[in-house]
């Protein structure tokens, strides 16, 4: 199945130089002692109908990026251009709360933890129906009909709409969360680790469901995840983040087959392969040390202390994200010279 959008599809969302710095306060007067640069100058675009994945390890800023797009956080600086259905664009980062309201219906989020993201005191009808009541003013039988329709679409039985979240398993709860996100016919859905908390067999069901819904409703996904094997299944393009910065962005197969950034190579090599016969046949790169602290990042390229290809220039000069041609973006001084190992395709 390959229903990738045309490469010239319009950009539904364009993030430019997005920064999100959280102040660190301490002392009696809560003076600002420094900043955690959670997202530090990130630019990318999401085309209509595609799935763009943001991957990286914990603390790399992928979730913060997603939350900035939803304006759950106020970005420190940068622009978030969103293309409206009529073709005009609007900068979400510059709008105030009331001006944002129409776009909150069009950009929705699916959360990671199906246990804490649903209110235990609301039944399914309330959870899925709340956005409809608030935004579309649906009530009574009309509301129930619409909720039933949504539940059917995500593979739940409408008879259960009077039940409370505790009566459902993790996979079913995630379906409820998806139904709620879809209730207002969104155009862009931010999936924040949407399948990470699920069991293997259920995870496959939800991934397939997300793909079906994307096809049926022409959804655009920004898929935030840490699991590279899951990401490969669902994405058209993948963006890799490290300590608040984008280090590589390319089409999924290009990135997996031939990564151009040493961090991407290390990430790919660390994914355990479910085949014991491949145990000693792969190049294994075990990164030393821990992810850099985003409040005190290293000089130059943030990855240089852990990079096995690092040279003198890497610790002095910060690499910019540049296009190697063919829309393969990478932030490494030596991307052209390095020959990095990807994942062997079957």
């Amino acid at each position: 199945m390959n229903n990738s959008p045309h490469p010239l599809s319009p950009k539904l969302l364009e993030v430019k130089h997005l920064k999100m710095h959280f102040p660190i306060r301490s002392g009696f007067l809560r003076r600002i002692k420094g900043y955690v640069r959670a997202v530090d100058d990130v630019s990318f675009a999401v085309r209509e109908g595609e799935t763009l994945s943001l991957v990286g390890e914990s603390g790399c800023g992928k979730t913060t990026t997603g939350r900035c797009i939803l304006r759950a956080y106020e970005p420190t600086s940068g622009d978030i251009y969103y293309q409206k259905a009529d073709g005009t664009t609007v900068n979400l980062a510059a709008l105030d709360r009331r001006e944002l309201n129409p776009y909150r219906k069009e950009i929705r989020m699916i959360f990671q933890d199906p246990f804490s993201s649903l209110n235990p005191r609301m039944n399914v009808l309330d959870i899925v129906g709340e956005p409809l009541l608030v935004n579309a003013g649906l009530k009574g039988a009309k509301l129930e009909d619409r909720v039933a329709e949504l539940l059917l679409k995500v593979g739940l039985r409408p008879e259960y709409m009077r039940r409370y979240p505790h009566a459902f398993s993790g996979g079913e709860r995630q379906r409820i969360g998806i139904a709620r996100a879809l209730s207002l016919n969104p155009r862009l859905v931010v999936c924040d680790e949407a399948v990470s908390a699920l069991d293997v067999s259920v995870r496959a069901q939800i991934l397939n469901l997300l793909q079906d819904l994307q096809r049926d409703f022409n959804l655009t996904y920004l898929f935030i995840a840490h699991d590279l094997s899951v990401v490969e299944y669902i994405s058209d393009r993948v963006a890799v983040m490290y300590v608040g910065k984008l280090v590589e962005l390319a089409e999924t197969e290009k990135l997996y087959l031939r990564p151009r950034h040493p961090y991407t190579e290390a990430l790919l090599s660390a994914v355990p392969n479910p085949d014991p016969r491949l145990r000693n046949r792969r190049k294994e790169i075990v990164l030393e040390g821990d992810v850099a602290d985003p409040s005190r990042p290293p000089s130059g390229c943030y990855f240089h202390p852990r990079c096995q290809y690092a040279q003198a220039r890497c610790s002095q000069e910060e690499p910019e994200l540049r296009d190697l041609g063919d829309e393969h973006f990478v932030a490494c001084h030596f991307a052209e010279q390095l020959s990095l190992a990807g994942v062997p395709y079957e």
């Binding site: 067999s201 085949d275 994942v343 079957e346």
Partner: protein
Amino acid sequence: MTNDSDTLLRISCLQTYFFMDQGTVKAVDGVDLILKRGRTLGIVGESGCGKSITARSILQIVDPPGRIVSGSILYRRAVSSNGTSQLGEEVDLAKMHPMGREIRQIRGKEISMIFQEPMTSFSSLYTIGNQIMENILLHQEVTKQQARERAIELLHQVGISRPKERIDEYPHQFSGGMRQRAMIAMAIACDPSLLIADEPTTALDVTTQAQILKLMRNMQERLGMALMLITHDLGVVAEMADDVAVMYLGRVVETADVDSIFHNPKHPYTQALLRSIPKVGRRARQRLDSIVGMVPDPFTRPSGCYFHPRCSAYMPNICNRITPTTVQVGEGHTVSCLLYNGATNHE
């Protein structure tokens, strides 16, 4: 192949139930497992399959209202005398009192465990060094100074830099990966013959996971201990295990060597599980085969074979009535499925 002297641990018909107000949860419902000296046994299954409770039963650390109802856990103790280790007596861990002296001599010394949550498995009130030294002082006749030196050496072994300074730090000063390293240091402090690792890398990032898995392999090689690796991640199992047991709803459905599990799985559940995992190196944007339905409610188990409502090879009037018994389908390869019951053909 089944040389009895190789067998370190033999679990037979283990049943651990939780008696709750809403009913009884049969978390472990007749588990048979054999663990060989020096080898790695991977236990895989989805949440609620009883893999963690099986491990906790071995150490008698099942939280109430759960308790071992029946079955035996025969553990062959190693007695080292004159530098050569020889086989000691065989003891039944299932019969021991959870608070008793006997189990406390084994727990943390001969059999130790590392847990999933590196954030919560240390006490935040004591230094890392204090907690490692406690284990050493409890089980070995050494002075405090010797224990401290041993703890520093252990921290060094598990790859913590500047162990002399870091031994006096508190858990919150360690990152997740370092805490898991310290946990391993504590677990191997008394040269255990079995290390139980319950989802040791689930809470860690992939690059840290690779570091920890490599460390566990090295430690196992150096100490010659057996490893029981409990995980839901089939990738980790493929990289680490010698033998694999697949569990579903408190029962072992298939056991075999790692190659047979991945390349010649017999049980429909194992087959379905393998089809439903995404692998890197496939084309982008594909569909996954998923298992229909979901893990059933713990209070109401299906009749007959527990897997029959989700099974693709379901045989009406057979699978929902008869409880399958474990049959051997190959060298060291057992499966508990009615497709193979009665059939004795190997491979």
